[in-house]
Structure formats: structure tokens, C-alpha cells
Amino acid sequence: MDLSVKIGDLELKNPVMTASGTFGYGEEYAEFFDLSRLGAVVVKGLSIAPKEGNPPPRIVETASGMLNAIGLQNIGIERFIHEKMPFLRTYDTKVIVNFFGDSIGEYVAAAERLSGVDGVHGLEMNISCPNKQADWCIFGTDPRVTSEVVGKVREATRLPLIVKLSPNVTDISVIARAAVDAGADALSVINTLTGMAIDIRTRKPKLANRTGGLSGPAIKPVAIRMVYEVYKAVKVPIIGMGGIMTAEDALEFLMAGATAVAVGTANFIHPTAAADILGGIGAFLTQEGINDIRSLRGTAHAS
């Protein structure tokens, strides 16, 4: 059975990866299963300078989902390279580094610094962040800004470049096209939906940051729809994510058009989720007599 897939020039042994920010730098999960089983590990989003993140509370549970406002806390690219990469290099899996910036300059600097680091196989660019230069607009909600920042990063790296799209937009296919035209090798769909919860006793937002990102099974229908739309709009591989808890969920994403999938919030609930999902996908293929996982891709578009 052939489970391998390609994300641009990057060969993954199977289509199951982890979603950035839900798998730490891999270490925390190593005791629960062999990370070498994964198609790829995508690490927590990094920036050139370390970031402290938001004050607590940072997490609120919602119906079949959760809001997070971690505030992109991270140890910075330098420390990551020195403290975390040696560990990750010991596994036979691909390492994809998620990164972001507050400005185009920071994005470019991050991409440059990460390129050529031994064991970094690909970059995932998070464009759901506020652009401090341009009056706090979000990079990934305006096709022109998307195009500009992706274009500049494209010039700065030869690593496979995945652009991770925000779902908080009117038409995700427009942003998808802008990213691909600017040089993205693949797209990650979707990041979290912006949401909020209020504590009716204190009458204040439950998160210190007021709003947060909604993830988990609650958002799966939106994520599937967006993967389906992006698949129609562009030709590059899609990494589908948003609420994947089971192999069945992952298969839905593949049929909607994803080449690979990323497991996010599910890692928190079952630390072996990614491995279990991989196992379930294999079982499904066996059961349905399918030899090549790629033959499932986009099948929901037929007829």
C-alpha cells in the first residue's frame, strides 16, 4: 500500500502531519508514540525574536471546540535551531517549521535564517497575523498583502514553501490564488476561526486577549468546505486541517481535495491521535481495496 504523498518537492512517507502549535516542538509527544511514524512534524510557530505571548487565561473550551489566545509565544528561531532541532533530527520524519512575522521584513528574515538549517525540510508561513506596519490588518485577509509577503519570502528561500491560509475571509479561493501566484508550493487550509466567549458572572471576555482562535471538531465543516473551494481554485497540494479527530475525518479532507492532513486540537485530547489516525487511514484503504492513497484525492468533486 502506497501512502506516500508529495508536497511540492517534499516527499512524505504518509499524509499525516501535526498542526503547528498543537504539537509543541515534538518532544512532548515522543513518549506516546514514535515520531518517525509521522509524514511530517510541523512545529509551533516561530519568529526571529522570541515572543512572550498573551497573559492568561489563554484557553477556553467551547462546544466541540476550543478558543486559544496563546499569542504566538515562542522561543525564537535561534534557540529553536540550537535547542530543539538536534532532537527533531533524530527522527526519520520531515520537519516543517511554521513561522510568522510582524512585518514583511521579519517574515523574510525568518525564512532566510531557517533556510539551510540541517534537518529543516520545509517552511509553513502563517499569514493569519496582524501586520503591524499596515495599521494592524491581517496579512492573510487581503490578496494584495498576501501576494506581497509571499512573494518576498519566496525570493528568500528555496525550501518548499507552504502558505497557511486564514479562514476569516469572504472568499478563500482569492487568497489561495494570490499565494500560489506569488510562489507558494502548497497551501495549508485552515487556520483557526476568530471567536470569543464571555463570562456572564464577571461580564468580561473569558480570554485575557478577548478574542481567540477557534479550533476542534466544531470547525470541521467550514474547513472541509474551504479545502473543497481551494482545490477548485489552484493546482498546488493542499494540507487539510481543522477539527480532525479520526481517520474518517482525515479521509473527508483527502476526498475534498487535500494531499495531506494535519492533526491539531486532537493531539491535546489523545496524544496518540496522529498515529491512530494514520492507522485508521491504512485500515480504510485495506478495507476498500485501495492501493494508492493519492487515488482518493478530490474524489468528492466527481459528478
Partner: protein
């Protein structure tokens, strides 16, 4: 050894209108838990509630462990309704633990309300050495008091409504105890309870120069250090309650 395991409910005993004592049998592969550590417990079918809930080790038993919990919201309400034989999806033991005091120190253990759940096994391990300050809202909420008395050197009880012991909080009781003492370092404090109580402990710790360990609480998603959701502010930046905690030094927290 695996910290991801399934536990079977042996008993789920109401010990108060809103509190239950849950006895679990766990697989041998589970590492031995230490006082102060906690478990993430999943009690749901379906995806709501979604996240596991954090509960302290209350007591180790021959076949496994016990958890003492207060019914608070959705998750604990479901848990309360679960019967013997039901299976829980669990992670643990997680986090760090209460460091044992050196021989020459007298451990003062403070528990506010359900905070007793976290320090009970510490009191057990301190085998007759701990002076326990146990506070609750009312007499009825002084759960497991008899058991505490068995293992403590002394138990100083307080209730908000004065229905048992001193009227006031466990922090008031601790202050009343410390005030007449020489303010040197013969003591060492361990505390678990509501935030204001811990804050009061931190103040006394500074004032009397007594080292204090507090068990912190924050909303958690993963329990294993991956999500960065459960941080508290320390003088050394944000720290994760599930990983660098739950037990922290009172002096490192930015209160």
C-alpha cells in the same frame, strides 16, 4: 510505562452534595504518582465536552488511585453520573510534585476547600509531621477531615461561616499560627486552594521568610506542555502549570 491509559471506575462515591470520591483501577504500566501531581481525565463520548479535565492525585490505593472532585460544570457533572465499571481515558501522572521538606523543618500544609485533594497524599507521606490548616466554607465542606487527622500532626480547622474551627479562611488561621512564632526558617509551607488564599500565603511567605510551595491552577488543553495554554506569570516569564508546575514557589509568581 505509559502515561496514556484507561482506568476503570471502582467506586464513585458522593461525599457531599457537590463532591465525589472517585476510586479507579489503573494498569500496572502507569508510573507511580507523587503528591502534587495530577491527571487529565476524559469522560466524554462525542466531542462535547471536548477537553480532558485536570484532577490531582488524591490518594494512591492498592489497585490504583483516588480522585476527589467537586462538581463544577459540564465535565464534572458527566463524571458524577458515571457508574462502576465505566472506563475513563486518562493521562498522567503529570507535572511536578511537592518537594519534601528537609528533616529539620516543620511542614505547614494549607488546604482551602477542594485544595485538600492536592495535599492529602502529601500529608500522608509526611506521616505525622504536618501541621495542617484546613479551611472550607462550611463544616459540611470539610471533606475527609477524619482521614486528614489520621496522618497529620495537628489539624487547625477554619470555616468561612464559623460552623467549625476558627471563623475565617485557612490563611487567617495560618497567620494566627505564625504571628506568635519566631519569624525564622523552621517552617516550610505547602498550599493548595483558591487564588486569593495562595496569594495570602505568598505574602506571609515573604513576610516571615518561610519558603512556600503553592499548587497553581489554569485552564488546560493538553496537560503535557504542548499547547502553552496553562501559563502563569512568574518573575522569569510565563511558566506552564502543567509542566513547570503545578507546584511553584510562591516567590516566583507574579501575583
Amino acid at each position: 510505562m505509559s502515561r496514556s491509559f484507561k482506568a476503570a471506575i471502582k467506586e464513585n462515591l458522593p461525599v457531599h452534595a457537590t463532591h465525589n470520591l472517585l476510586s479507579l483501577s489503573v494498569p500496572d504500566s502507569m508510573p507511580d504518582p507523587r503528591p502534587g501531581q495530577f491527571f487529565m481525565v476524559g469522560m466524554n463520548r462525542g466531542t462535547d465536552p471536548l477537553l480532558k479535565r485536570a484532577f490531582s492525585l488524591f490518594r494512591r490505593t492498592d489497585e490504583g488511585l483516588q480522585i476527589l472532585y467537586r462538581v463544577r460544570g459540564k465535565g464534572t457533572d458527566i463524571l458524577r453520573n458515571m457508574k462502576e465499571g465505566a472506563i475513563l481515558d486518562m493521562l498522567g501522572p503529570l507535572g511536578n510534585f511537592y518537594p519534601l521538606p528537609s528533616e529539620e523543618k516543620t511542614p505547614l500544609v494549607m488546604a482551602g476547600g477542594i485544595g485538600i485533594a492536592s495535599v492529602f497524599s502529601l500529608i500522608e507521606d509526611l506521616a505525622g509531621k504536618a501541621i495542617v490548616f484546613y479551611g472550607a466554607r462550611t463544616k459540611e465542606e470539610l471533606l475527609m477531615l477524619n482521614e486528614v487527622k489520621v496522618y497529620a500532626k495537628e489539624v487547625i480547622v477554619s470555616t468561612d461561616d464559623g460552623s467549625a474551627g476558627l471563623k475565617g479562611t485557612a490563611a487567617d488561621a495560618l497567620r494566627a499560627f505564625l504571628a506568635p512564632q519566631a519569624s525564622d526558617a523552621h517552617f516550610c509551607i505547602y498550599a493548595c486552594g483558591p487564588h486569593p488564599l495562595l496569594k495570602a500565603v505568598a505574602r506571609m511567605s515573604k513576610e516571615y521568610r518561610i519558603r512556600a510551595y503553592v499548587s497553581m491552577e489554569e485552564h488546560m488543553a493538553c496537560g503535557i506542555g504542548a499547547c502553552l495554554g496553562c501559563v502563569v506569570k512568574t518573575h522569569d516569564g510565563f511558566k506552564r502549570v502543567c509542566k513547570e508546575g503545578p507546584v511553584m514557589s510562591a516567590s516566583e509568581i507574579v501575583w
